[in-house]
Symmetry: C2
Subunit: 385 residues, 2 copies
């Protein structure tokens, strides 16, 4: 039984080319990039190349890319780095209720540190109301952090409108966007968003674990999280993970220049899955954006009356890997804060599964997965009725 992996919002299997590159770099270019000899310079050159490849996604300069150990660190650096660096200017921060835990828990922590935080609600599509920022953002506000694509329901926030309203309310506010779920799947229109800080992660785009980046608009100052040997222009010291960074660069390059194609391919898979499931006569409700809207690779579905965990394991027995709630909670059996925020409760909340697709999935896999899901729902429903 071949595995059908539909948990690509949690993590993605790496490209074969990326694995090969990582193996080669670890073996041949093992020098410390800070070493003065050629083994150091060779490593530094690889990192420079990766920086160019990642910068291309932002239409940005290489000097605006700071490599981190991943998305969580990039979000922490952006949020705490901006808050601490600007605490003399103000103490008010804004975010939404449906951010990733690595964003939300930074803000919870900053509240303990004396900052005040406003949390924007979302509608049942998982969308914030940018207009709400008009009255919220004031003189004392120093940072607004809003994700691009929600990892659980796939809502795409109206970032251009959001950025415009922030600028009109207070041009000095820093605007951070967590783009971990959208990087290499949707365009990162940092200029249109008027963003200052954007976080990304390699392992969500078929790159390696252990690499991410924060895009920092030229001239934006942050307090670093780590202190040390001065790497990444003192913004992120520590011996660079050359292989992971090179792999990140290559994974980015695989997606570069074909964003529209990738998004089209993913959306096609999602719509096939939705159509097949609907045609099977299965009773289900889509949570968040309608299938034709939202992120191309995510669909969140409830099967009222059934338990998500039981569904997940039944699908797993058939070789299909999906997610119940988010994988980012270290398997704590808590109801998803995102699904609660979009208004779900009771049977609909308990029975929600996330199916997330990648360019590695084939149409046939998706058709099989929909048929198996329909079968599992039928089997389980017959057991309880």
């Amino acid at each position: 039984m071949a595995a059908i992996y539909l948990d690509n919002s949690a993590t993605t299997p790496p490209y074969r080319e990326v694995l090969e590159l990582i193996g080669r770099v670890q073996e041949e270019t093992y020098g410390n990039p800070s070493s003065m000899h050629s083994k150091g310079l060779d490593a530094e050159r690889l990192i420079g190349e990766a920086r160019r490849q990642v910068a291309a996604f932002f239409n940005g300069r290489e000097s605006e890319i700071f490599f981190t150990s991943g998305g969580t660190e990039a979000n922490n650096l952006a949020i705490k780095g901006a808050a601490y660096r600007n605490r003399r200017r103000g103490s008010h921060l804004v975010t939404s209720f449906i951010e990733h835990p690595s964003v939300l828990n930074c803000f919870r922590f900053l509240e303990q540190e004396g900052f005040s935080v406003s949390y924007l609600p979302v509608d049942e599509q998982g969308l914030i109301d940018p207009g709400a920022l008009k009255s919220l953002v004031g003189k004392n506000t120093i940072l607004v952090s809003i994700m691009h694509v929600n990892s659980e329901v796939g809502s795409i926030q109206p970032l251009a409108e959001t950025g415009q309203i922030i600028r009109e309310a207070n041009p000095d506010v820093l605007f951070h966007v967590d783009a971990v779920q959208s990087f290499a799947r949707l365009p990162l229109e940092v200029k249109k968003w008027q963003a200052d800080l954007v976080s990304c992660s390699a392992h969500k785009i078929h790159g390696p674990r252990g690499a991410g980046c924060l895009w920092v608009k030229e001239g934006t100052l942050l307090q670093p999280l780590l202190h040390g040997g001065g790497q990444e222009r003192e913004m992120r010291p520590g011996t660079e993970n050359t292989a992971a960074i090179a792999g990140f660069g290559l994974a980015a390059r695989q997606g570069e220049g074909r964003l529209a194609q990738t998004a089209g391919q993913l959306r096609n898979l999602k719509l096939i899955f939705y159509r097949e499931l609907r045609n099977s006569g299965t009773r289900f409700i889509v949570n968040g954006p309608a299938p034709e809207n939202g992120a191309p690779h995510i669909i969140n579905i409830s099967f009222p009356g059934l338990k998500a965990e039981v569904l997940l394991h039944s699908l797993e027995e058939r070789g299909i890997y999906v997610s119940a709630g988010s994988a980012c909670h270290s398997r704590r059996p808590e109801p998803s804060h995102v699904l609660e925020a979009i208004g779900l409760s009771g049977r609909r909340l308990e029975s929600a599964l996330r199916f997330s697709f990648s360019v590695f999935n084939t149409e046939q896999e998706i058709i099989t997965a929909a048929a198996e899901t329909a079968q599992v729902v039928r089997d389980l429903s017959s057991m309880i009725s």
Copy 2:
């Protein structure tokens, strides 16, 4: 011309077995360890195994090992985590002048944050005087951080005596040891040291880049540096780098149970190098501990009258890779703070090279490297005299 890599204190080439394991894990066990399905559980199992392998070095419990992205992060977590967590109890911190930049620069930062820091001097062997702590450590002291082995000159600090004096002066003080240079080369006698926190890094022991750990004695509380999805029991959130952690575990296992053998092998290489260089009639001075003392894998040598950078590049032309000062300064051409702290200046400071050995080096390589060094020194000396 085969390369002779003698910059093993900067970073080490990985074991072949580690590279193979990393490749396999990235390909086969790519699931997010937080995912509820078996692809998550498989990844979590690998991390648990690595945790046992690393814990073995501390004769510690698995629950005392917290994986980080590397040594810099482990040092930052230990120092800032201890300082912020205990700031209500006191604001005085102690360290030495010869710590790694990832330790020293944490303390410089904490000074700006309102903490006061005492910096211990060292003698010309690179050793602190533990007795000096008697009067320094007081009621207001919350943390002492002293490295085990110095990365530039190889001095081994008297940690048992240091720990004892700290405990007598104030039993509530946390004692952190940066063991990045000694891990898997010398025993980590955490009980004898009476240590609370010990930092390690994978890439210094023929493991991968992107993994390190902080050993945290049962019951010791720290403020985390990162906030997020709760991984590593909320001490270090972020999707775990399964492959790097597994590789770290395997690299640790390679060295386990044969510490004395490894140390003997390394010391033998160092003494051969020293003897060959001395027998060649080359004029040089050993900096820091005498060759028969100090860490088994590090020797720091000045060639007065010559410039370290010129020596380094001349050796590189002959396929020999060494370090001038430390590699951790991102190639900034600054005089080494360690060599200055042990009293070097002028011609001796300018001409210092570090030769650092690993179990991958053969005796023949070392004999060749010594002969080539002697030749380079002769050639360069004849050019300037």
